[in-house]
């Protein structure tokens, strides 16, 4: 098995490991440490170039209070939730249907359709900016939550379908055949047999999609104008000045914005890893 457990290595190797691990960990985490440290500094400390030393005053509470006081960050957080949750639900719903269709039925052109879904993932999304903006305008959903939600569902369904199709194709097909022999309808098969079996995949996808959609900056920027509809990624940029930025407030705001995906990750960690390595151990 690779990697071999460290206990089986020689003493000197073990010692090296024990020294190197914390060092590399600190280097790895330096950017994160910097953000936390910056969030606790006053602006005058930063203007003096005191980035790593002891802060002349601890301003953690003050900075967070300012972030909540000077911008409507509460609204932005709520907007992020309002955009993210329906987008995930929609993308998962559609991709389960499409994935089951592609995996369970042998019809001509199914490979082509799957290839289309995969190919969609390789399109750089920026080139969609102008057509999508025009489409949302024509549909009358520009500058509403719906514009962003519909686009996120449409765009993310491609990847999700690919993912779900492969997962469903891995399931033992005998289950479906047995159900059909019993006279169970196709819809019933999907709801009562397939969906319960793909639950781990759905959970993994949900976490993945949550981070994708929550962290997306580009589409809200293009499709939303009104301040009261902005998600947190867009709202945070208001803390960044045209010329000068209050880096301490930006850091504090970023920590707040990063918290939900991180919490989501820890809550669903098992599914997340399972999802990423899905099928990886199969020879």
């Amino acid at each position: 098995m690779f990697p071999r457990p460290i206990q089986e290595r020689s003493r000197s190797r073990q010692l090296m490991y024990k020294v190197a691990l914390p060092i590399s960990l600190i280097i790895w985490l330096l950017p994160m440490i910097a953000i936390v440290a910056t969030a606790g500094r006053s602006l005058s400390d930063l203007n003096r170039g005191n980035y790593w030393g002891m802060p002349s005053e601890w301003a953690f509470i003050e900075n967070f209070a300012k972030v909540f006081g000077s911008s409507s960050i509460g609204t932005y957080l709520l907007n992020s939730v309002i955009i993210t949750l329906p987008s995930i639900a929609g993308a998962l719903f559609l991709s389960t249907l499409a994935g089951a269709g592609l995996a369970l039925y042998k019809f001509r052109g199914r490979f082509l359709i799957l290839a289309l879904f995969i190919a969609g993932n390789f399109v750089p999304f920026q080139i969609l900016m102008i057509p999508v903006r025009q489409l949302t305008l024509d549909l009358g959903v520009y500058d509403t939550y719906w514009g962003v939600i519909l686009f996120q569902i449409a765009f993310q369904t491609g990847f999700c379908t690919f993912f779900m199709r492969n997962f469903i194709a891995e399931l033992p097909f005998e289950l479906v055949e047995a159900a059909r022999a019993e006279g169970v309808g196709e819809w019933q098969i999907l709801v009562h047999i397939i969906v319960p079996l793909v639950r781990p995949a759905l959970a993994a996808l949900a976490v993945l999609q949550f981070t994708f959609i929550w962290n997306d900056f580009f589409w809200p920027l293009i499709l939303i104008q009104s301040d009261e509809l902005r998600p947190i990624t867009l709202g945070l940029t208001v803390l960044k000045g045209q010329y000068i930025s209050s880096f301490n407030l930006l850091a504090a705001g970023s920590l707040i914005a990063a918290l939900p995906p991180v919490m989501m990750f820890f809550a669903m960690q098992k599914h997340f890893i399972a999802g990423l390595t899905l099928g990886a151990s199969k020879g």
Binding site: R48, L85, M129, W146, Q225, S226, T237, K240
Partner: protein, 410 residues
């Protein structure tokens, strides 16, 4: 999950059905500096107090995001007002037919007489496309205490004195000038001033309009002067590694004495340092050449596709009033374009105001006066030059190639 979806969607629909009241005035802005934000909020509050029936919806963006968003919302669902910059930056959008002609506001409010300094920057072919609310002078912010420490008694007014000041500071172990060139634009301030002091305002304007080659002898003279500073170790080391804001700590720590910059820097000096900071204008290089200054102008514009242009015009007229401009400019640490407004009683604003008052002409700023694509290549060249002055010929040829691509062969 599905129930949740329905509920969330219902809430969403309710929230987004609140647009389009008769007298909503939507304003999209890039003024996200803390002082700018405060100034805009105060201005809007005052406007709403004067016109209680109008409700201003203020959507703030950071500058980079605004540049992307602007190209989208101007052609689709445009707001009623935007903040932007006068000069070439405005002209780009005027040429695309995206900004409203507001000459009628200028006429009705007598702004040609009230704002003489900014008429040309706000005009394209004789028509006005925006109303400025503030402009500001560029100049040297320097630390008096460090000057004294190096035995310097007066601020330099000529090139020779300037070189001498630098030599004294270097001898005292203080880097004369701090600059962060990662964002590129701080280099353009140097180029503008050197060119205007050596070759004058008319030549500078021609160069900005692409009518002179960058390989011209007169342009080369600018870089010869600039190279004198580079070779005399005037600038902090590794400046391409710092954004302009990250280069400021050198001055706050007392390691560096001067910064060629604009008033938005003032609020970034910690209190004890600010007491020691004073201001002087860019020194004269050739006494035969007039005084020309960079004075970037920020203004309000009405998009062509705006829905509530009537109330937007009311806002422009309101923002142009002398007392309103006094207050806005004071919050911004900048200058009011309206001559009947009063300039904030502080040494930076007054110093800049006096200098602009005696100027023979003002320009906006390199990246506001010339084509944006050319400005980028130009400023990259300036940055490279400040690290490797001996590469100047290759750099100028590269900039010239870009100028020729945009403005055509001469």
């Amino acid at each position: 999950m599905r129930y949740l979806k329905t509920t969330v969607c219902a809430v969403a629909l309710m929230l987004c059905s609140t647009s389009a009241f008769a007298r909503d005035l939507v304003m999209n802005a890039n003024t996200s500096d803390p002082a700018q934000k405060l100034a805009m909020e105060e201005l809007i509050a005052d406007f709403e107090a004067a016109y209680p029936e109008i409700d201003v919806k203020f959507n703030l963006y950071d500058h980079e995001a605004f540049k992307v968003a602007m190209r989208n919302f101007l052609v689709s669902d445009a707001p009623d007002l935007i903040t932007w910059n006068a000069g070439n930056r405005m002209k780009v959008f005027v040429d695309l037919g995206l900004l409203e002609d507001v000459s009628d506001v200028w006429q009705a409010e007598g702004l040609h007489e009230a704002m003489p300094a900014v008429v040309s920057a706000s005009s394209v072919e004789g028509k006005q496309y925006g109303v400025p609310y503030a402009y500001y002078a560029w100049g040297f912010y320097y630390r008096k205490d460090l000057f004294e420490q190096a035995g310097i008694t007066s601020t330099p007014t000529t090139w020779e004195e300037f070189l001498e000041v630098g030599a004294k500071l270097n001898a005292a172990g203080i880097t004369p000038i701090t600059i962060g060139t990662k964002d590129l634009w701080p280099t353009a301030g140097w180029f503008d001033f050197l060119n205007m002091r050596i070759n004058g305002g008319e030549f500078h304007a021609q160069l900005m309009d692409g009518k002179v080659a960058y390989t011209d002898e007169r342009v080369k003279r600018v870089f010869e002067k600039w190279a004198e500073l580079v070779s005399a170790d005037f600038f902090v080391e590794n400046h391409p590694g710092y954004s302009f804001q990250e280069a400021l700590p050198f001055m706050n720590q007392g390691k560096s004495a001067m910064y060629l910059l604009a008033p938005f820097i003032v609020s970034m000096f910690p209190d004890d340092v600010r007491e020691q900071v004073e201001w002087f204008p860019f020194p004269v290089i050739d006494p035969a050449v007039g005084i020309y200054e960079d004075a970037p102008t920020d203004s309000f514009h009405i998009p062509k596709n705006a829905t509530n242009k009537e109330d937007a015009r009311l806002f422009l007229a309101f923002a142009a009033q002398a007392d309103v401009q006094t207050k806005t400019a004071a919050t911004l640490d900048m200058l009011p374009p309206n001559i009947n407004a009063s300039v904030k009683d502080d040494r930076f604003a007054q110093g800049g105001f006096a200098q602009l008052g005696q100027a023979n002409g003002i320009m906006q700023f390199y990246d506001r006066d010339t084509d944006p694509a050319l400005a980028k290549v130009g400023m990259e060249g300036f940055q490279e030059f400040m690290q490797n002055p001996d590469r100047i010929d290759a750099i100028l040829q590269r900039i010239e190639a870009e100028r020729e691509r945009i403005y055509g062969a001469l």
